[in-house]
């Protein structure tokens, strides 16, 4: 049968982003001693091992951490693959330019960003957030970029009309740069 202490420690383990040391747990709980805490941890670890569980108690980096079981890695990987919206700062910048200035040339993107953006464009392209809308009749026939349906889904937009205009944000007041009033 579980003790209150076990339940509280379980909630701490669950809520913590980093492995918890016994000392840390002790300092949070104030009352319990190290031995009692260790016993509670052992008891939790055994319980997690005894039945079919999605997680286990790992002893890492001098502390304890709840982790998902390695045998389910394939499912978790699939979950993460579909996880939305993690972009690097560079990708985000590039995507923002394309969203607002589309249809837009790579050279325009690079002019605005001031750096080569080939790699970033490729990433966005692979993630299907941008697409080639055509080619411009210029030397080298440069590609013209625009955003995709996936882009709209990612940002929960019905269509590009819903993309707030910078003016709208300005209307909301506060400190927008270039406020030339």
């Amino acid at each position: 049968m579980r003790t209150d202490l076990e339940a509280i420690i379980e909630s701490l383990l669950f809520a913590s982003d980093t492995p918890l040391t016994i000392d840390k747990i002790k300092s949070v709980l104030e009352t319990a001693d190290r031995k009692t805490i260790r016993e509670a941890l052992t008891s939790l670890a055994e319980e997690y091992e005894s039945g079919k569980r999605g997680f286990f108690l790992a002893e890492v980096a001098g502390g304890f951490q709840v982790r998902t079981r390695p045998e389910y890695r394939q499912w978790i990987r699939r979950l993460k693959e579909t996880r939305p919206a993690r972009l690097s700062r560079a990708a985000l910048e590039t995507l923002a330019i394309i969203a607002y200035k589309q249809p837009v040339l790579r050279s325009d993107v690079e002019y605005l960003r001031g750096v080569d953006s080939g790699g970033t464009l490729r990433t966005l392209f692979e993630r299907r957030l941008i697409r080639v809308m055509g080619r411009k009749d210029l030397p080298g026939r440069p590609m013209i970029y625009g955003t995709t349906k996936q882009f709209l889904e990612l940002f929960d937009l019905k269509d590009l009309n819903e993309l707030p205009a910078l003016k709208d944000l300005k209307d909301l007041g506060e400190t927008w740069p270039n406020d030339s009033r």
Binding site: R73, L87, I97, L157, L160, K167, P177, S180
Partner: protein, 243 residues
């Protein structure tokens, strides 16, 4: 937060300043323990004005919103003094002008309180966050990635514009954005079907504004050579092709 400062409702500490006229009004109604559906308008108006004067005496800028409310209250008060023209009974109580919004505001204040009483995330309940590295298999993709939402997107663009030229700011009116949106839709259609007739593109457009937007979108696409526009010699049908 219960204060019982009897007779001097306008004596409020600086830190207790009100969010707005409605907030002040709620305070006065509460202070006087009156029924909001039967507000003693003369008393409340008097106290309201006293409060504004007190703020002025402290050199506190009395926002225009507060003055508008003062005028509304004074107006209601004067209408209350007038004898009712007809005894028809369909003359509404002039106080309803303020009672209705006040009641609605109060209701929403209660609602806001109800929300705060729920088990709030990151306050009463917590979830696992930031797992990169806590999965047993994790060996990949550390770092530099940020979770993005619409705000981050706009913010990123804003930052760029700041670096480049303020003139761009004014370039993006809602109208140019709807043209961009339409371009995207037309590109979708062309991606799917390869070509589309002019007619079809305009058919679904309800308003004059939409038609103009569609037209501008086609022009823009032509300018960028995203499309070819061809007219059939005999039928006269104009068709747009993916370039």
């Amino acid at each position: 937060m219960e204060q019982t400062q009897d007779q001097t409702p306008y004596k409020v500490h600086l830190g207790d300043l009100f969010d707005g006229p409605m907030d002040l009004l709620v305070h006065l109604v509460k202070k006087n323990e009156v029924d909001i559906y039967d507000i003693p308008i003369a008393l409340i108006t008097q106290q309201y004005v006293e409060y504004l004067e007190w703020m002025k005496s402290l050199n506190i800028d009395v926002a225009g919103d507060f003055l508008v409310m003062a005028a509304t209250l004074a107006h209601i008060k004067s209408r209350m003094l007038l004898p009712t023209q007809e005894e028809e009974g369909d003359d509404e109580d002039p106080r309803m002008e303020i009672i209705r919004p006040l009641a609605e505001y109060l209701q929403l204040k209660y609602a806001a309180e109800d929300l705060m009483e729920r088990d709030r995330l990151d306050w009463d309940v917590f979830v696992r966050r930031d797992f990169d590295g806590t999965e047993a298999w994790s060996e990949e993709e550390p770092g530099d990635l940020i979770q993005v939402g619409l705000f981050e997107l706009i913010d990123a663009f804003q930052e760029i514009i700041k670096r480049v030229s303020p003139a761009y700011l004014w370039d993006l009116t809602p109208d140019t954005i709807s043209v961009k949106s339409r371009i995207s839709q037309i590109a979708d259609i062309l991606e799917e079907r390869g070509s589309v007739t002019f007619q079809e593109l305009f058919e679904a457009q309800a308003t004059r504004g939409d038609i103009i937007v569609t037209f501008l979108a086609i022009l823009e696409m032509a300018k960028f050579q995203l499309i070819r526009i061809m007219q059939h010699l005999e039928s006269g049908i104009i068709r747009i092709f993916n370039e």
